[in-house]
Structures are given as C-alpha cells and as structure tokens.
C-alpha cells in the first residue's frame, strides 16, 4: 500500500484538526493568523518539494526558483495586462512545468545524479535570480509591485481582501495538495517514483522508464510549487529577485518536510506547523527579552533542528504517528511512507 490506511481514530483526529483550522480565523488575532497562514504556505510548498525528494528521491536545492517564477508570472500578467491571479496561476504552473522539464531533461539525459543534480537545481535558481535582477520589464532588482486595491469585501476572484482570505486559500491549497499527492502515490507513477528513489537501476530492470519517471516528478513538483509563489505575490504585493529566488528561501522550503518526515504525506504539514510558530516564538521571545544579537535567532532555530533530527532521525511525523497508533499495522510504515 502506498500509504497505510489511517485507523478510525486517525480520521477522527484529522477531522477535528481540519475543523479547528477552519474555525481558526474566528479566535485568532491578525498576527497569529498570519503565522498560521505562513505555516500553511510552508506546508503546501513543502508537500510539493517532498513529492520530488521524499517520494521520487530527486534532491532539489533550488525550489525557490518555482516560487519566484510562479510569483512573477502571475504578477506580470496582473501588473502589465490586468489579468487576475487565477489565470496567472495557469501561466505560473505552465512556466514552472516547462522550466522543471528543462532542468530534468538536462540533468537526467546526461546521467546527472544525486548531489550533482542538486547543484544543477541551485545553478538554475541562481541564474534566474540574476536574470530577473536585470529584467527591467519586471522591475529588475528594484522589485515588482502589485497595485494595492482596497476592496470593501473579500474577493476570492481577484485575491484581494483581509488576511483571512489568504488563510483560507492556503488552507484549501494545502488540503488539495495532500489529496493530489496521496492519489498520485496510489497510482502506477507513484510506485515508480518510490522504486526509482529506492534503486533506479533495479527499477529499470523491473521495467520502469527511469528518465520519464524522474522527469515527471520534477515537472509536477515544480508545477505544484508555482501557485505558492502566486499567493506569495498577491499576499505581499511585492517581489524582489534577491528575496524570492534566494538560496535561503530554497533551504527554508526544505526544512519543514525534512523535520516533519521526508517521504511521508503528513511530514511536510507537521513540520511546517511546528517550525513556523516555533521560529516566530523565538523571534518574539528574543524581542521581549531585549536581545538583538545578530544571528541569535538562527542559532537557536538551528539548535532546535539539530535536537529534533538527532532525537527523531526519520522526522517528527513517523514518530508521532507511531506514538498515537494512527496506522493499521504497527512498526510498518507502508510503501509510500518511509519505514521508521
């Protein structure tokens, strides 16, 4: 089984959590809601990255590329042609898919594997960042700004409104991404991803077209990431190449799924919901304590990551799921879920 079925009380827990998330805007203040929205954003993008690394075993260290391309594609349509974000989403997905295909085709056709493939993903993100720095039509290094229109009410169609609107959009996207990946994992392609992740030569000997399988993972992962960039653009109303395409963002994207549980469906979500509030809490605590040592926040954050990774080398989710007895067969993570 691609993913071992949840036990009834697992479903109940999931339903309660979803209910809480749906009701959250009613009892959270705007700041808390923004943190939760950010957590959902990382859960979503982490899910997209996890598809490629966690399930197909292809390491990307340049996923900021797809975030940036998605954001810029939709923002450019909006700023220059007045085209709304949902059409922008289509272009964003298409652009990211094509770029993912180019990277994958280049890398996999020439047998670039493992860390060398990861280097290629970094190179593409960096080239793109530099190119966008000099692309005046998109604002260059000075940034691209989306006109802020104050609407009387929330408008889902133009993605203009209160923080709660973005929160609900991110929640819907995170749930959809989870469903999409779980369906894919039960398909032939999903099993082929796992096989290639485990041993690509053995997979080939069992009839798996390795090139196509890896390529599809990169394309789908990139295409899934791009809408995260679109939401980012419309939520913040500005895009800077230095920031959106940055290596730091690429790293930030991959930490929640790793900490939550690489190659598990719920890992990216659990990771994002633990790390994002934690990061914010550390900032707040340091502010209140009047400590403003540069790098102290990063240091504490890094320390926490080390503790989690040493304590739970397979991530928080596999450990948590076992503790809560969420899956049918104890001690067996199932195919899709990497065994602890």
């Amino acid at each position: 089984m691609s993913t071992t079925p949840l036990r009834p009380h697992g479903w109940l827990l999931a339903a309660i959590l979803l209910g809480l998330l749906l009701a959250a805007p009613r009892f959270l203040d705007p700041y808390q809601l923004s943190v939760l929205t950010l957590a959902l954003w990382f859960a979503y993008v982490g899910q997209a990255w996890n598809l490629m690394m966690g399930f197909a075993g292809q390491l990307s260290l340049g996923h900021a590329l797809y975030v940036g391309l998605g954001g810029y594609a939709a923002a450019a349509l909006y700023v220059h042609f007045g085209v709304g974000p949902w059409f922008g989403m289509l272009l964003a997905v298409a652009v990211a898919a094509v770029v993912g295909a180019v990277i994958g085709a280049l890398g996999f056709r020439f047998g670039v594997r493992g860390v060398y493939f990861a280097l290629l993903t970094i190179a593409f993100a960096e080239f793109t960042r530099i190119a966008f720095d000099h692309w005046d039509w998109l604002g260059g290094s000075g940034g691209l700004f989306l006109p802020v229109v104050h609407e009387a009410s929330n408008d889902l169609w133009t993605l203009r409104g209160e923080p709660a609107l973005y929160y609900y959009v991110m929640l819907a996207m995170t749930v959809l991404a989870l469903l999409l990946v779980s369906v894919l994992l039960r398909s032939r392609l999903g099993y082929y991803w796992l096989a290639v992740r485990e041993d690509q030569d053995a997979a080939a000997a069992a009839g798996v077209n390795v090139f196509r399988t890896k390529l599809s993972a990169v394309v789908l992962s990139g295409a899934m990431t791009a809408p995260g960039g679109v939401i980012f653009a419309f939520m913040h109303n500005n895009l800077f190449p230095e920031e959106i395409f940055s290596m730091a963002r690429s790293i930030e994207i991959i930490i929640p799924p790793i900490v939550g549980g690489l190659g598990t469906l719920f890992g990216p979500i659990v990771g994002a919901f633990i790390l994002t509030p934690f990061g914010e809490a550390v900032s707040l605590a340091l502010d209140q304590a009047g400590l403003s040592l540069p790098g102290l926040k990063q240091f504490l954050y890094g320390l926490a990551l080390m503790v989690i990774i040493i304590w739970m080398p397979h991530g928080i989710w596999p450990w948590l799921a076992r503790r809560l007895g969420l899956f049918g067969r104890p001690g067996h993570g199932g195919g899709g879920e990497k065994a602890p």
């Binding site: 032939r188 030569d201 390795v210 067996h332 195919g335």
Partner: protein
C-alpha cells in the same frame, strides 16, 4: 530443433582496454535452461548486463525471438520480455515485499489493483505471501533472493536471467529454490539463462552449459560433455573444480 529465443552473436565489450566479453555467441532455445559458468571475472555478469541493456555492446548483435535488442534501455529490454536478477540483490529496501513485486507487475497491468493481485499470485509459490507487508529491509538474504526472483517474475518475462541466485545460500536452503526454478521452467515453460557457481545446481537444472573464460567462450554443450572437456577442466584448475559442490 527448438526455436532460439535468445540469440547472442559475436558480442564484445571492453572496459578501458580490458576485454570483459570477447566475441561471444550463444543461443538459448525456447523453454530450455542454459547455464553460464566460468571463473570469477570471466565476464558472465557483463554478458548479462549487455543482454539486459545496462550498456550497449561494442560489437555484435543480441536478439530476442528475432527482435533486435541492441540499443534498448534496460526497461525496454524488460518490456520486450527479459526479466533479470542482480548478483548483489537489489530490493527496494523501504518498500513492503508486496510493493516490491507490485512495481514489476505494473509493467503489464497499469492499474494498481490488478497489478497488486498479480503480485500476490507471484508471491505465493515463493513462500513470500506471509511476508507481504514486511519491509524488504527486514528480510534475510534468502528471502531477499526470493524477492528478487519474484520482482523479475512479476514482469512476466519470456526469458529469465538469473545471476547467481543460489550463491551464499546454505545447502538446506538450496534445494527448495532449485525445485522452484525447475517448476517454473517445466510447468510454466519459462526459459532461463543462469549464471551459477553451484555445480550441483547447474547439473540438475540445465539442458545446456556455456563456459566463459577471460571473456571468451571456451565450451558450449550438454552438461556432462562440457564438464569433461579438458579446456574447461584446465580453466577451472587453480581456481575451482567444476565438479565441486557448494563453495564455502
């Protein structure tokens, strides 16, 4: 005479000056078991890799039932009807036993439900059904070898390439696997080309034995004729006796 299922014609492979396989020709008739033997480093695994499409031959032709295999990728060779096992077993460690075999079964049936049923059918005779939900990582070497076999069988091959599936097994573990291979050949009509050091297995299973030494074919014929061949005895002297039972 039976039709040749696999035809290997004057196939050569060099590794940076080393002639690993030198103008080797052989045929595997449909429904037969052919054994490929020879000392370590003779080029047996390399010949398997050439047939399986891991790398192309420098020269020569390989055909399956008249279809040219040269230039095909491993997955295309598999789809053409050749299943293989690896000398060093390569299970998908973090997948369940059933999912390992499912991957093979997905070649012929694209729907996971049908492929899963097919996988269960394959697991049964190999005695792996009770282990279906265990991860491959938790299996013993013997179980992993059977899993390797199951995954290859799940692709519904016409020809099975077995690279030392019996090596490393204890004498008691040998016979059941040997019987199983015999059953696959006799009952299911599966054609088998196997590399094997265990001479007892070679003599019991095969209809024909091909001997490689330093990349060259030095003998080819009925098992008893081949092991009586002076050239074969000579090439084994100092390395191992072909008539010796299991090497330790």
């Amino acid at each position: 005479m039976t039709d040749a299922l696999l035809t290997v014609e004057r196939v050569t492979k060099n590794f940076r000056g080393l002639r690993a396989v030198a103008e080797v020709s052989l045929t595997v008739p449909e429904g037969r078991v052919v054994a490929l033997v020879g000392p370590n480093g003779a080029g047996k695994t390399t010949l398997f890799n050439l047939i399986a499409g891991v790398f192309p031959p420098d020269a020569g032709h390989i055909q399956l039932a008249g279809r040219r295999l040269n230039g095909l990728r491993p997955d295309q060779v598999c789809a053409a009807g050749i299943g293989r096992t690896f000398q060093m077993v390569r299970p998908f460690l973090d997948l369940s036993v059933e999912d390992n075999v499912l991957v093979g079964a997905l070649l012929r049936s694209r729907h996971t439900a049908t492929a899963r049923q097919r996988a269960r059918v394959v697991l049964e005779p190999l005695g792996l059904a009770p282990l279906a939900n265990r991860t491959a990582r938790s299996l013993t070497l013997l179980e992993r070898k059977r899993l390797e076999l199951a995954r290859a069988l799940a692709t519904e091959p016409r020809l099975l390439l077995l690279d030392e599936v019996l090596a490393g097994l204890r004498p008691g573990e040998l016979q059941p696997l040997l019987d199983l291979l015999q059953r696959f050949n006799r009952d299911a009509g599966l054609t088998i080309l196997l590399v094997e050091h265990v001479m007892r297995a070679v003599m019991a299973l095969s209809d024909q034995v091909v001997v490689l030494d330093h990349g060259e074919k030095i003998a080819d014929g009925a098992p008893h004729d081949v092991i009586a061949d002076p050239r074969v005895i000579e090439c084994y002297l100092g390395t191992e006796q072909p008539t010796a039972p299991t090497r330790s």
